[in-house]
Each structure stands twice: as structure tokens, then as C-alpha cells.
Amino acid sequence: MSALLDVADLRVRYGHSLAVDGVSVRVGAGELVAVAGANGAGKSTLVDAVAGWSRGRPAVTGSVRLAGQDVGRLAAHRRAGLGLVLVPEGKGVFDGMTVQENLRVVRPPRGTAGRPYSVDDVLDVFPRLRERIAARCSTLSGGERQMVAIGRALRAAPRLLILDEPSVGLAPRLVVEVLTHIRDLVDAGLSVLLVEQNVRAALEVADRLHLLDQGRIVASGTAAQMREDDRVAQAYLGGLGP
């Protein structure tokens, strides 16, 4: 079986420290796969390497295939052009531009990419952005920025959308809102690799979940299996269960 995204034996080093140590992840068409783990576990390093991107200077080995095509040597903007689109952790929009400009500056997708979203389509997904369309992104709230970041990613016609902690810093109500939006996109056919610190929330929307610890996958399974997993329960769900 060939998955839409097939990451095999990925290793990422910052100098001498190994931040990702032989990770293999697959995402099928129309699937939402979550990666969870503590701070510093290597989640961002992993998904950044999948997108061919970093703010640092990591050394990456291993293979990254998108729909069978080896994209592991391509620069980030080329991978984006093929539909492998990352919304990074933290700053994900151009603050100096308006919402509309952020949605328009995205390079038009190539023929091989997924469903193209027009600016209007994005506003249908995030109606709240409609009234903020002419606002500079520096004036937006955290949730609104996250919507712009996801919206501009949709504009790039992703086949695989990678989201690195889209809910970080958001009020609990907004976390649910953003994650629900993402699940809706997946139900409409998009494939998503989601990094999420909030394991409970991730399990609400994900099909499968990988638990990352010190650069290695230490537990994997379907959302249902992972809810029952002792390691997950102890480490993340604790006594806060419903």
C-alpha cells in the first residue's frame, strides 16, 4: 500500500544532538494523523523536516515521499508547490500585510496539487475573517492569525496539510473551534498531519496518533486504541478524564 505521505527512518540533527531519531510516519488520503509529545520531544523538528523547512540549520537524513514521489531533496517552496504545505509553530503569517494580502500572496498551485481554495472559499471556512479582511495581521488575535495561517495554506491547494500546534495559546473554546474546522477539512477529503500538545483534544479529532518522546515514536495507534493506552492515560490524560 502506498500512503499519500510516507516518511521513513527520518533522522534530524542539530550539530551533535539528535532531535529526531529514526521516525517513520504515514498519512493516508483523507486521514488525520496526530503527533503528540512533551515540549522538546522533537515534534516541530520532525514536521519541519518533512516540509524541508527550518529556521535553524538541521542535518536531515531519511526519505520523504509524497504520493510516491521522492521529495526529500526539494527546497521547502518546491514541496509547497507540490502540495506538501506546512503551517509552522508560532509566527505563520506576514504581520505587515492585511488578511487579504496574506491570502493572495500565496503562489498559485501547480497542476499536481490538491483542491484549490479561492480567497472566498477560505472565508467560507473561516467566516470570522470576512470582517477582518482588510486588517493588518499584526492587529489580529491569536485565533484569527491561526485562521489566516491555515487559510493561506489552503490557498496553496494542499494535498497534505501539516499543522504544528495550531491551538497553542488559544482559549479552550477556540481550540475546539480550530480543531473542528480541521476535522471538517479532513472529512471533505484533505489529508492532515497535526502536531498537538493537547493530547485529549488531538484524540477528539484524529484518526491515528503517534506519541513522540526524545525524538522517537514510543506509542502509536488509532484514536480509540490510544485513549485506552496506559502510557497515554498516565502521561497526558491523568486524572482530568471526563
Binding site: H77, A80, K91, G92, V93, G96, M97
Partner: protein, 284 residues
């Protein structure tokens, strides 16, 4: 005398503006520097002269030829610097472009000789008058081109996909990659645009006075003055400051020995930087 200084100052300032517009975009929008800018100006003038005197091309054809030659040089230079540019290694960029400037100057001296030359533009012979003000067709050309290039740059940066890409790369080149933007190509486009503006300034200002292959350093200094006084990246401010500087230089030269005018302009710069560190025309 006042009127003559005014007209002369306007033409001079428009020339400065044309010289500075590329740098304003380069430094403001792309955080790049190019200390070979003045030598590209010199080359714009000399390639124009060469095309006219050696190949007998008319001025109107020689200028585009010069722009193409300098654009190609700009492509080569920026491709050599791509790595440094992507890393935003400003110190190395300063040194490399400075070295490139010296190389261009040396190469130009070998190729074109060390004598002063005159660019034969028919517009320079065309005397015009508006009331008591007397000027040449060349002066009009400089002013028109300067205004046209500022307007073009303003519209492109503000309203087009290319402009949004330039601004995006300027704000965050890493993030731009995730938007599918090839930062290296945007840097290339901006650099070549800047080089072509410098060459155009040389090609149209050149006919006003004899040209030398050693010129260029004064032009970089003037450009620097304009960009810093206007506030880095401020297009409209750049135009206003450039014209202002042209008028200042022309009036200063009318009443004092012109040799001191650059020094006097620097005094103005110092005062402005002390009083308004963000630049004369900056909004905040």
C-alpha cells in the same frame, strides 16, 4: 540665478531619485545592500557612450543596450551572492559588493580608458524655456523618468503579486518559502531592478556633464544619504528627499564653492540623524 538653481536642482534631484529608487527597494524591501551601485551607474553611462561612439547607435537605442548589459551583470553578481543573501549575511554582502565595484571600475578603465567622455544625446542640445526658466530636453527626460519609476515601483510594491512577494520576503524570507515563494528568485528580481535603475540614472544623467570611469563613489554616498534621510524603504520619502537634496546641492553650489556641497549634505544628514533617527520622512 535663483531660477537657474531651481531648474538645475530639480534635474539633479530627479537624477538622485532615479539612482536611489532601486536601493530603497533593495534595502527596505529586501534587506540587501549593494556598494557597487555607483559603479553600475558609471557603467550605465559608459556603455551608453560606447554604444554611441563605437557602434554609431542612436542615443535612444544605446540606453536600452546599456540597461540590458547592466541587467546581465546584475544577474551574475546576485547569482554569485545567492547564499549570502539567503543567510542575510550583510557584512559579507557589503564586502563582496564593494569588491565588485572596484572590479567594475578597473574593468571599465581598461575597456573605456581614463579620459573624460561625453555622451551625445540629442535631448541635451534641445534648449527649452518655460517663462524665464531655461532647461534642456535631457532635464525633462530625467524628471519624467524619475517620476515614472517611482510611480511604477509604488504600484508594483503595493498592488501586485510581485510586490506582495517582495514585501513577504522582506518581512520573513523563511516564512515566504512556506507560501511557495522562491526567495532566491525574488532577491534576484529586486537586485536586477535596482541595478537597472542605477544604470538608467547613469545613462540619462550622464549626458549633462563629462563622464569618467572613476565616478560612482559619490553616487553611492548620495544614494545612501537619500535612503537614510527618507527612512529605509520609504519610497515617497525617497523621492522627496532626493529632489530636496538636488535643490540643496544646486542652491549651495550657487552661493558657495560646489566642492563643499557633499560635505554640507552630510552635515544635514548628521543633524537629521541626531534629531530624527528614524529618518526625515518616516511616519513614526
Amino acid at each position: 540665478m535663483i531660477l537657474a538653481a531651481l531648474v538645475n536642482g530639480l534635474a539633479l534631484g530627479a537624477g538622485y531619485a532615479l539612482l536611489a529608487v532601486g536601493w530603497t527597494v533593495l534595502l527596505g524591501a529586501a534587506r540587501l545592500v549593494n556598494f557597487a551601485h555607483g559603479q553600475l551607474y558609471m557603467l550605465g553611462a559608459f556603455v551608453t557612450w560606447f554604444a554611441i561612439s563605437r557602434f554609431g547607435l542612436p542615443y535612444g537605442v544605446a540606453v536600452p543596450v546599456a540597461l540590458v548589459v547592466v541587467a546581465v551583470l546584475g544577474v551574475v553578481l546576485q547569482l554569485l551572492m545567492t547564499r549570502m543573501t539567503l543567510d542575510q549575511n550583510i557584512v559579507n554582502l557589503m564586502l563582496v559588493t564593494l569588491a565588485f565595484g572596484y572590479l567594475l571600475q578597473g574593468g571599465a578603465a581598461l575597456l573605456f580608458g581614463g579620459d573624460p567622455q561625453t555622451i551625445d544625446s540629442p535631448l541635451q542640445q534641445q534648449d527649452l524655456a518655460l517663462g524665464a526658466a531655461r532647461f534642456t530636453g535631457q532635464d525633462v527626460l530625467i524628471v519624467v523618468l524619475a517620476l515614472a519609476f517611482y510611480a511604477l515601483t509604488f504600484v508594483v510594491l503595493g498592488r501586485t503579486d510581485l510586490g506582495r512577494m517582495v514585501r513577504g520576503v522582506a518581512e520573513d524570507p523563511k516564512l515566504a518559502q512556506l507560501y511557495g515563494i522562491d526567495a532566491a528568485r525574488v532577491y534576484l528580481a529586486v537586485f536586477v531592478f535596482s541595478a537597472v535603475c542605477a544604470a538608467l540614472a547613469g545613462a540619462v544623467v550622464g549626458p549633462r556633464s563629462p563622464i569618467l570611469t572613476s565616478m560612482g563613489f559619490e553616487e553611492v554616498i548620495v544614494t545612501f544619504l537619500v535612503v537614510v534621510l527618507a527612512g529605509v524603504g520609504n519610497l515617497v520619502g525617497g523621492l522627496v528627499v532626493a529632489i530636496g537634496l538636488g535643490l540643496f546641492t544646486a542652491f549651495f553650489g550657487t552661493f558657495f564653492p560646489p566642492a563643499y556641497s557633499t560635505a554640507a549634505a552630510f552635515v544635514v544628514l548628521l543633524v537629521v540623524l541626531v534629531v530624527r533617527p528614524q529618518g526625515l520622512a518616516a511616519r513614526r
